[in-house]
């Protein structure tokens, strides 16, 4: 039996943009800044599409939570191969205190409503660098988790997952339904082609609110400040290897 897949697509400041902290220290500048799909979520979408090409997955539902612009991110996911999309609308003031715990509750509810068998998420978003949503989604569903995955294979009624761990790789088996988080080496995401971008415009995109899903977005943290990191001063250039070695020796480093 082919699986129904739910994939998460977070809209984040593009990885190539140099992020600037706001002068009032409340956050970083997002207005007029290029945004893209979180790179790890692109890997998650790609993996779902590949599983569909292998006939393991029958339908892919892409989800994004946030302001209206998230719909562009969802169109990208559909241009890559997702069949339909759900935009969970979260207006801007609430979006600022949104944490992975809230997203995980939304994903868990949608996984149940959509009768998903597998949820694939990026291992971390490159804006808040939390690395929590997949683990928490699995916990809310009481499903197993295969996080930091670099390879997944369907075997019997479960998945064999190769995971990136400190010092090497680990292989585990998880029963389906399960939550997977995508690490860097799981695959290389495809670029959406122009015909697929056109086709994606016609694919269904549903809108929901957290209230529809019964998820409480009460803030769990209070952001006191967002500041620039301490600046590291560049030192000197050395002329050659001899000078490098003598300087390192003087510093007691070698």
């Amino acid at each position: 039996m082919a699986l129904r897949a739910l994939v998460g697509c977070k809209r984040v400041i593009d990885y190539a943009v140099r992020v600037r902290v706001k002068p009032d220290k409340t956050g970083v500048v997002t207005d007029g800044v290029k945004h893209s799909m979180n790179p790890f979520d692109e890997i998650a979408v790609e993996e779902a599409v590949r599983l569909k090409e292998k006939k393991v997955v029958s339908e892919i539902i892409a989800v994004s939570c946030g302001p209206a612009q998230c719909q562009e991110t969802l169109r990208t996911a559909m241009a890559m191969g997702a069949d339909k999309a759900i935009h969970v609308e979260i207006p801007s003031p609430q979006y600022e205190t949104l944490q992975p715990i809230h997203i995980a509750k939304i994903m868990a509810k949608l996984a149940t409503d959509q009768k998903a068998d597998i949820v694939i998420l990026g291992k971390q978003a490159i804006d808040d660098d939390c690395n929590q949503t997949a683990q928490m989604t699995a916990a809310f569903l009481d499903w197993p988790q295969g996080v930091f995955a670099s390879k997944i294979d369907k075997e019997g009624d479960g998945l064999t997952v190769m995971r990136e761990i400190d010092g090497g790789l680990e292989t585990i088996k998880v029963k389906l339904p399960a939550v997977i988080s995508a690490d860097l080496r799981l695959n290389e995401p495809r670029y959406a082609t122009l015909p697929n971008i056109m086709k994606a415009k016609k694919k269904p995109l549903d809108k929901k609110t957290p209230a529809d899903l019964g998820v409480d977005l009460k803030p769990r943290i209070q952001v006191l400040s967002v500041e620039d990191p301490p600046v590291r001063e560049a030192g000197a250039k050395v002329a050659d290897v001899d000078e490098l070695i003598s300087r390192l020796k003087a510093l007691g480093r070698i």
Partner: protein, 317 residues
């Protein structure tokens, strides 16, 4: 008020990040309990009783914990929490801690804080966002604080001098069939582990291929250094991902960091800019890595690295 530290170990011995996590717990200042979950893990538990600041060591020794699966560890951690009502639950921000803690936090309905780099008071913490390009100070409003802490940001608690009491952790049926452990393939290396090495030498795209990393291994062995890589080098397939230093890889802060053929993308800098001395060897004088390097050498790495190896060898003999 008391803090629980979840120990990371391989049954025979503690991982060094556990000591950093205990260091962070000592900073919060409440009584510290450690939880050791494993199979035949009494050696790791004994080590913990000697760590400074540890009052109690809870031990859960059960074959079901082979492979440290979060689906089995979580119910035990919840049972221990029920027993002792901790205000803080802490683990190191490693693959182990990051995989496990959010699952525990979700079950407690609290929002965890990842990769904490500073503790201002018992509910106020600092962490980096955007690959270290901004530092956030936040107050946790949940009653239980679940934190993963960055090893390089907290001094390791001293081993010796502690007198923690061993105690059996809550009994229960922790085996379940949600997940099962198959195998681990750890890269075999005599070099020090990246996150605890005093010296780290990393190679980037400029290394051109995986074979050329031999140049770095030779120098590393002379200096007793660990070897890392940039994401570009991992993406290009030169070396395996467990060597990756950066935003989504390992965070290191050694006394000496030597970046070879690494341009210095912000994602890489996030993983190494707290190193005490940074050396950059790159043929491009405009490479951004030189903006953070204490000592920059503009040179062809294929000449400079072997020359350095020869000269260090001569110096040591």
């Amino acid at each position: 008020k008391s803090t629980l530290v979840i120990a990371e170990h391989d049954n025979a011995s503690l991982k060094s990040i556990t000591l950093n996590a205990i260091g962070a717990a000592n900073k919060i200042g409440h009584e510290v309990t450690c939880l050791v979950i494993g199979s035949n893990c009494s050696k790791a538990a004994d080590q913990l009783t000697k760590v400074e600041g540890v009052k109690k060591v809870l031990v859960a020794d059960n074959a079901a914990f082979e492979g440290f699966l979060p689906e089995r560890l979580t119910p035990l951690i919840l049972a221990s929490h029920k027993q002792f009502n901790f205000t803080h639950i802490i683990a190191g921000a490693s693959a182990f801690g990051k995989g496990l803690l959010p699952r525990v936090a979700a079950k407690l309905d609290v929002s965890p804080v990842s990769d904490v780099i500073g503790i201002k008071d018992e509910e106020t913490f600092t962490r980096t966002i955007y690959a270290g390009n901004a530092v956030m100070t936040l107050k946790v409003t949940d009653a239980i604080k679940v934190l993963s802490v960055r090893g390089t940001s907290f001094e390791a608690a001293k081993v010796g001098g502690g007198s923690g009491a061993l105690e059996k952790a809550a009994d229960g049926e922790y085996k379940n069939d949600l997940s099962s452990f198959v195998k681990q393939e750890l890269a075999k290396s005599d070099r020090p582990e990246l996150t605890s090495a005093k010296t780290v030498i990393s190679g980037g795209r400029g290394m051109k291929n995986g074979d050329n990393f031999k140049l770095l291994y030779e120098l590393a062995d002379l200096l007793g250094a660990g070897v890392g890589a940039s994401r570009a080098a991992v993406d290009a397939g030169f070396v395996s991902n467990d060597l990756q230093v950066g935003q989504t890889g390992k965070i290191v802060a050694p006394e000496l960091y030597i970046a070879v053929g690494i341009s210095g993308a912000i994602q890489h800098l996030a993983g190494m800019k707290d190193s005490k001395t940074i050396v950059a060897i790159n043929k491009d004088p405009e490479a951004p890595i030189f903006a953070v390097a204490d000592l920059g050498l503009v040179a062809d790495l294929f000449k400079a690295v072997p020359e350095m190896t020869e000269k260090v060898k001569a110096m040591k003999s």
